[in-house]
Amino acid sequence: MKSKTFDFSLYVITGENYHPGRKLEQVMEQALRGGADIVQLRAKDAPKREVLAQARMLRDLTARYQVPLIINDHLDIAQAVSADGVHLGQEDLPLAEARAILGPDRIIGISTHNIAQALEAQAGGADYIGVGPVFPTGTKPGRQAVTTSYVREAAERVTIPFVAIGGITLDNVDAVLEAGAKRVCAVSAIVGSAEPAETCRAFKHRLRAFAAMAMPDPASKRIRVNGREDWTNAGNVQELVRQYGLQGARIVVELDGVILSREAWADTQLAEGAQLELVHFVGGG
C-alpha cells in the first residue's frame, strides 16, 4: 500500500470527542476533501473492537482519497486492516520492536518532546516524528508545551520529516510555520470545526504560502489559477495538475490564454506569473 517516499503537509488526527453528533466517517471525509494528506486514527480509551471497526472504515475512506492511514499505538490493528503505518508515543512499544514486527515497508512515526528524543527516533529509523505539543492542548492535558523554540531546533537539526503538533489552530499556525515547520498537525481545530473541509483548505493555503515565501524555494513560483493566486514548485503543467489531484480527470488547461493539449503538459514549463485556467464539463442545458 505505502511507498516509503511519502510526504505530506497537513496531518489530521481523529478526535471523536470534538464532534459530538457527527459521525467519524463524515468528519474525516470532510477533512480529506479539504486536503488532509495523512490521517491518523487515535482512540486511546475505546474498546479494541471498536477501534478495529473504525480502522476498517478509515482504511476504505483513505484508500479512496489515496492518502496514507496511520494507526495510533495498535500495531495489530494496523496489520489487520493493512494500514500504512503506526504512530507511537514515548511510553508505547519502542521503535526497534515495532520495526521488527512491522518490517521495513510500513511507516512508523514517533512523538517527541525534546531534541534528544527527536535525534534518537531519527537514528532508530523512524519515518517521521511529531514535534510538540507546541501549544497547550486539551488532547494532551497536563503536558508542558514545548513552544516554537523546539520547532526551531527541530527545523535546524532533524533531517527526516517532522510535523508540528499540539494546540495548532489557524490563529497560531503562522508562528509555527515561521519557526520552520513545513508540516503541521491539528486535531480539535479541524475535526472540532463546523466546516472541517474549509478549515483544511485554509491550513493548506497557509502551508503553501509559507512554503513559497518564508522558506524561499528556488523552484517555487507564484502563479494564478482559475483567478486565484497560488504558489507551486511544480516544474511543468503535468506536475501542477497532479498537485491539484486532477490527474485522470477530464480537464482542459489554458495557459496564458492558449489551450494546451494534454500531450504538451509534461513539456510545458511553468513560469513565474503564469496564468492558468483549468476547466471541465458540468451539468448544463
Binding site: 482542459v252 451539468g283 448544463g284 442545458g285
Partner: protein, 323 residues
C-alpha cells in the same frame, strides 16, 4: 404506416444519424443518480453540458462525465456564460480540447433576467465556429429571418427557443416556430421554454425536427417520469406531423354518412340544427334544382354561418380566448 423510425425518418446533424429526436440537458438534476435514470428513460443520444472552472479546493467533486462514460452519446457542450462571440469561441475551443467531439451549442445571453440570446453575437460566433470546423447548433430567438441567416452562416442545426430558458411557458409564438421549421434546410431543434410533454408535442407538430430540454425534466416532481413522457411526446408529435393533421374547419363534419339515419322521415325536414342535415340540404338543392336554387340555399347557409360564428366567439371568450 409511418413510423418514428430513424431508418425511414432519420435526423441527421453534422453527418451524424441520430435515432432519437430528444436532446437532454444535464443541469440542475437533484442527484447524479436521478440524472442517470432520466437519461435512460429519455433514450436521448445528444446530451448538453456547460464548461466551468474546476473547483481547486474540491478536486474530487463529481464531474458530470463520470456518470455517463458507458453510454454511446453525442456531447453537445454549450457556451453558456459567454456574453459575446469572442467568449463563445473561446469556450467552444476549450470544450473541443476535452476530446469529446466538435459539436457546440452557441449560447450567448444578452440579458441576465431573460437570458434571451444576443442575435448579432450569436450570428458572429456561428460564422466563426463553422469556419473552424465545429458542428454548430446556435440557440437563438424564434425569429424566422435570423434562423435563416444562421443556417446560411453554417449552422448544422438551428435551435430557436419556444420561450425564455427555464420559464416553462411553452411555445409562445407557434406561428414563428412553424414558419422556421417550414423554411429551414437544416434541422430545427426547439430549445428552451418547454414546460411539459404537451409543449413538446406542439413543437413537433409544428414541424420541429427535435427538442432540447433540461429544466422541465430536471425540476419535474419526478424527473425520470417526465423524461419518459417527453420522449413519448417527441415520438407522438413527430408521427402526428408526418401523418398529416386534418385542416381546421369552422363546423363539425360527421364521422358517419347522413344517409340512413333511423328516425321518422318528418324529423329530417324539421330538424335543421345539425350540420350534416344542412350539408345534405345544400347538396340536394344543387343536384335537384340547379344553380339558382343552390345560390338561395347558399345564402341561407351563410346566414347560419354568421350566427354560429357569433356563438362560437362568445364560447371562446368564456373559455379564456383559446386560439
Amino acid at each position: 404506416m409511418i413510423e418514428a423510425n430513424a431508418n425511414i425518418d432519420p435526423l441527421v446533424i453534422g453527418g451524424k444519424r441520430l435515432q432519437s429526436r430528444f436532446f437532454l440537458g444535464t443541469g440542475r438534476f437533484p442527484s447524479p443518480a436521478v440524472l442517470q435514470l432520466a437519461l435512460e428513460a429519455s433514450k436521448a443520444e445528444v446530451v448538453t453540458f456547460a464548461v466551468r472552472r474546476v473547483n481547486l479546493d474540491d478536486a474530487r467533486e463529481d464531474s458530470i462525465l463520470q456518470h455517463m462514460q458507458e453510454r454511446e452519446l453525442t456531447y453537445l457542450p454549450n457556451t453558456s456564460g459567454a456574453n459575446n462571440a469572442d467568449e463563445a469561441v473561446r469556450i467552444a475551443r476549450l470544450a473541443r480540447a476535452a476530446g469529446l467531439g466538435t459539436w457546440i451549442k452557441v449560447e450567448i445571453s444578452a440579458n441576465p433576467r431573460t437570458l434571451l440570446p444576443d442575435p448579432l453575437e450569436t450570428l458572429r460566433a456561428t460564422e466563426r465556429l463553422a469556419a473552424e470546423g465545429f458542428v454548430v447548433l446556435p440557440y437563438t430567438s424564434d425569429d424566422p429571418v435570423l434562423c435563416k441567416r444562421l443556417e446560411e452562416a453554417g449552422a448544422a442545426a438551428v435551435m430557436p427557443g419556444g420561450a425564455p430558458i427555464g420559464s416553462g411557458l411553452g411555445i409562445l409564438n407557434p406561428y414563428n416556430i412553424g414558419l422556421i421549421a417550414q423554411e429551414s434546410r437544416v434541422p430545427i431543434i426547439v430549445d428552451a421554454g418547454i414546460g411539459s410533454a404537451g409543449d413538446v408535442v406542439q413543437a413537433m407538430e409544428l414541424g420541429a425536427d427535435g427538442i432540447l430540454v433540461n429544466t422541465p425534466v430536471a425540476k419535474a416532481l419526478d424527473p425520470v417520469g417526465m423524461a419518459q413522457a417527453m420522449r413519448l411526446a417527441v415520438e407522438a408529435g413527430r408521427l402526428s406531423y408526418l401523418s398529416g393533421r386534418i385542416p381546421r374547419r369552422q363546423y363539425a363534419s360527421a364521422s358517419s354518412e347522413a344517409e340512413g339515419v333511423s328516425k321518422p322521415a318528418l324529423s329530417l325536414d324539421t330538424d335543421n340544427n345539425g350540420n350534416s342535415a344542412r350539408d345534405v340540404k345544400l347538396d340536394a338543392a344543387i343536384a335537384a334544382q340547379g344553380e339558382n336554387a343552390a345560390r338561395e340555399a347558399a345564402v341561407a347557409l351563410a346566414s347560419d354561418i354568421r350566427q354560429h360564428a357569433a356563438e362560437a366567439a362568445d364560447a371562446g371568450k368564456e373559455l379564456g380566448g383559446i386560439g
